[in-house]
């Protein structure tokens, strides 16, 4: 009996955060809508909870509620939040302000947007300790330098003297993690901290977060849509869907044996894999041939350096690389938006004018584009009918009844019921449906070549999968060729015939998909491939150990020549 009581008291000491029956409502179009529908969440000291779900599942809203915070237009309508014995929803504004940044800290998705551009990093670091009377300025500056060093930021002594725009995205995200630690909080909310980063940069940030959370025994809520990432970070995973909990379990158990159908579907996402088409014959004329292209936006700098690759009929070329590697610039050169300094673009054996203004209407028709953000690529004031009709009437000269029929046929092709969707506005569609409209608009011109610029990276995995399947089907039906720009190697596996790996504006390696994914790799391809998180809780630790060993070996080799 006594023993039982003791464990109970111990458990209470351990318990840091308890959220019970949380209901959060948000206002949209003058109506209150439930965003979170009665979720329970608890967290012990030093524990890391992974919160997973698609966009719109309410992960961020729930994470912020753990700080007693609601965004404008939202309200916690029911439930309770207890942090370290305090009822956050009953506290005065002033009392809760004292907790935020001090005992509970937040790390936002986009560090670039969440650092104030007007102040130096060190000033933003020292703000919270000063406001909450945790440390003096000198002490917190020294602490900042210590943390900067700990998470491997370059020249930690002077790093803080820079402004946010003077630092790269990955460094900024690490600096934000350091800032969250400035008051040595008990709890940190990480809200998709690596979603905006490249895989290679993501690793550095993940390693820094993991390291620091362990060292300071900080409890954390790690929010992400990427299961493989959460698996590295969390002790326990809680799955959310449309504001409700699906299930929760310790990480390893959850990975091994998910119970609910929805969770299983998340695990088994990448089932679509295109069968690689045989390499084209040497004598075949490529649809698009990029020949020794060098291009840049200013006269001093080359963003593309002597880039060459071909895209054949009914083939998909995936162009992969980190941000800044020149993928999108290559697309701009092909479309003629950016005339290259040297080299040329050849379409079906005939050279295209470098500037799109000099291309004929038919040449323009042949090359179409689908954009990453369907949200901003579609004019919000136009109805679906007009959005799709425009290229059809402009390039093909259709009008009246023929045009209407064509639009309906296109809608049917992208699997949207014409009668139901033809008169809607883009705002009345979901993200995946908007991207389908983007696809319909591209094929409306009856092109032979389409550039897909990160078309799935803003979408949830299940939706992205559907889009990839659709693109695949359209390719065989309409004999299309794709240039598929992406930074996601899983997407490459799913859709490509051939892969072009780019780095710093140059092609590092290009080969058929099956060959490229098989060792031996070019060192950079190796780095890219090994950086993709796997569904294994120990993947990150193993990888870091392996890389440290490799580095030591290299150093050893250098030391004794």
């Amino acid at each position: 009996m006594k023993q039982h009581l003791l464990t109970k008291i111990n458990a209470m000491k351990q318990r840091l955060l308890t959220m019970e029956n949380i209901h959060i409502q948000g206002k949209s179009d003058e109506q209150w809508v439930d965003i979170i529908k009665g979720v329970d969440l608890y967290l012990n000291r030093g524990e890391v909870l992974g919160l997973i779900g698609e966009s719109g599942a309410g992960k961020s809203t729930l994470g912020l509620a753990a700080m007693g915070f609601c965004r404008d237009g939202c309200v916690i309508s029911e439930g309770s939040v207890h942090f370290d014995g305090k009822d956050l929803l009953a506290l005065s504004r002033e009392d809760i302000r004292q907790l935020r940044g001090n005992r509970i800290a937040y790390v936002a998705q986009s560090a670039a947007a969440s650092f104030n551009p007007a102040h130096k990093l060190i000033d933003q670091f020292c703000e919270a300790p000063h406001l909450h009377n945790v440390m003096g300025r000198k002490e917190s500056e020294a602490y900042a330098r210590k943390l900067y060093k700990r998470i491997n930021l370059p020249s930690p002594e002077t790093f803080g003297l820079r402004y946010p725009h003077e630092v790269s995205g990955g460094q900024l995200q690490r600096a934000m993690t350091a800032m969250a630690l400035s008051c040595r909080p008990d709890l940190i909310i990480f809200d998709e901290p690596t979603t905006a980063l490249d895989v290679t940069t993501q690793i550095e940030v993940l390693a820094a977060i993991k390291d620091i959370v362990k060292e300071f025994n900080t409890a954390a809520i790690y929010i992400s849509h990427d299961l493989a990432v959460v698996a590295q970070m969390a002790d326990r995973i809680q799955v959310l869907l449309k504001g409700e909990e699906v299930e929760q379990a310790p990480t390893k158990l959850m990975l091994k044996a998910p119970k609910k159908a929805y969770t299983k579907s998340l695990w088994a996402v990448r089932e679509h894999a295109r069968i690689e088409q045989p390499a084209p014959k040497k004598t075949d004329t490529p649809v698009i041939s990029i020949r020794q292209v060098t291009a840049g936006y200013t006269s001093q700098q080359d963003v593309l350096k002597n880039v060459s690759f071909d895209i054949h009929k009914k083939r998909t070329i995936a162009v992969v690389g980190e941000s800044g590697s020149g993928k999108s610039t290559a697309a701009r050169v092909v479309t003629g938006l950016l005339p290259p300094r040297q080299g040329s673009i050849v379409f079906d054996g005939a050279e295209l004018p470098a500037d799109y203004q000099k291309r004929s209407r038919d040449q323009l028709r042949q090359i179409q584009m689908i954009y990453q953000m369907a949200d901003t690529a579609l004019n919000p004031k136009l109805r679906i009918r007009d959005l799709i009709a425009r290229p059809a009437s402009m390039y093909l000269g259709l009008s009246g009844r023929a045009l209407d029929e064509r639009v309906r046929a296109l809608l049917a092709m992208i699997e949207l019921e014409p009668d139901q969707y033809i008169d809607r506005l883009p705002s009345e569609l979901s993200g995946g449906q908007k991207q389908r409209i983007g696809i319909a608009r591209a094929i409306a011109a009856e092109p032979s070549f389409i550039i897909c610029d990160e078309v799935t990276s803003a979408l949830d995995q299940l939706v992205a999968e559907e889009i990839l399947k659709l693109l695949d089907r359209l390719q065989s039906e309409l004999a299309l060729s794709y240039m598929f720009i992406t930074h996601d190697l899983a997407t490459v596996r799913a859709i490509a015939d051939r892969v072009v790996v780019m780095k710093d504006g140059a092609v590092v390696e290009q080969d058929g998909k099956s060959k490229l994914f098989k060792p031996p790799h070019h060192p950079y391809t190796e780095l890219l491939l090994s950086s993709v998180p796997e569904m294994d809780a120990e993947w990150l630790d193993r990888l870091l150990i392996a890389r440290t060993k490799k580095r030591a070996k290299k150093r050893g080799r250098k030391a004794k020549p």
Partner: protein, 311 residues
């Protein structure tokens, strides 16, 4: 960057001087005949033309004029037969005094009210300050002036006539010019206040403000330390425009309060067809606009680390 902006400012001024010169040149009527009036015999006219240099080709006269201006010589007034520089100097000093005086009252009030309005958005305070400022700006200046006189001058607290000169002691100047300064404050505050409010509210929607809230920063500090530094550019531009307006556009207020400022000089110049005076005042007004906007651009550049420290 700043050097380029400075050079552009100088270029603008030169173009403006050319424009002013050409538009005066394009006015109908002959200057010499205008001066002589009924004594305009052909010989007299020719003599005057030679004396004034009007027989020279236009571009020579332009360069002469510009060269003079650069040395502080604006030529002679035709009506008063005195060097224009002498006429302008005391009035320019008066105008600048009134402008600075007004700015010292209006700018802090506008900024503080604007920040407070953005902090207490959609509250009664916000609405009342908005309505008051808007009513003040929608009333004609002379009306505001007479209302001021009605309330403050008739009761004897402040003088209704702001007739100052170079010898007036500073404190007395402040006292004499209080009503015109107050009138102008009412006219210019609304614009600056509303821009401050709008610029800050714009910034308040950004992620780094949410971050500041989640760091436990107080609302007041969020406005002053996090939002304001990023809203400086639009605010400074509106302040500059209003200051320029104070230098150039206050002739009606000058008349209501019998204030010896530049505006009156220009109106008199137009009335008496005193072309060189009009030219000179127009050039000063133009320089005020260009100079203040230049200053605003420089301040907004300096306030933005992304422009000052480019990667």
């Amino acid at each position: 960057m700043l050097v380029k902006r400075l050079a552009l400012g100088v270029l603008t001024l030169i173009l403006l001087s050319l424009l002013i010169f050409l538009s005066v040149e394009a006015l109908p009527g002959d200057l010499a005949e205008a001066i002589l009036g009924q004594q305009a015999t052909p010989e007299n006219t020719a003599a005057i033309r030679r004396e004034l240099g009007l027989d020279l080709p236009p571009w020579t006269r332009y360069l002469h004029w510009l060269g003079g201006v650069l040395q502080g010589d604006f030529g002679n007034s035709l009506a008063l037969r005195k060097p224009i520089a002498e006429l302008i100097a005391p009035r320019l000093a008066n105008t600048l005094f009134l402008t600075l005086y007004t700015a010292c009252i209006a700018v802090p009030i506008a900024l503080i009210l604007g920040m407070a309005a953005s902090l207490f958005r959609n509250s009664y305070f916000d609405r009342i300050s908005n309505i008051t400022a808007l009513s003040a700006i929608s009333m004609p200046e002379f009306f505001v002036g007479y209302v001021m006189i009605y309330f403050f001058a008739i009761s004897g607290y402040f003088p209704s006539m702001a007739s100052i000169n170079a010898g007036t002691p500073f404190l007395e100047k402040l006292y004499l010019c209080f009503l015109p300064a107050l009138t102008l404050t009412l006219v210019v505050t609304a614009h600056m206040m509303r821009m401050t409010r709008a610029a800050i509210i714009n910034v308040l929607a950004l992620p780094y403000i949410e971050m500041a809230r989640l760091k436990g920063v107080k609302s007041q500090r969020i406005i002053t330390a996090h939002a304001l530094p990023n809203a400086i550019a639009p605010i400074v531009n509106v302040v500059a425009l209003n200051l320029a307006y104070l230098i150039t556009g206050v002739v009606i207020v000058e008349i209501v309060f019998v204030f010896p400022g530049l505006g009156q000089l220009m109106v008199d110049g137009v009335k008496f067809r005193d072309v060189p005076v009009v030219q000179a005042t127009a050039l000063i007004f133009a320089s005020a606009y260009v100079g203040l906007n230049l200053l605003a651009d420089i301040i907004s550049t300096i306030s933005n680390p992304r422009l000052m420290r480019q990667r």
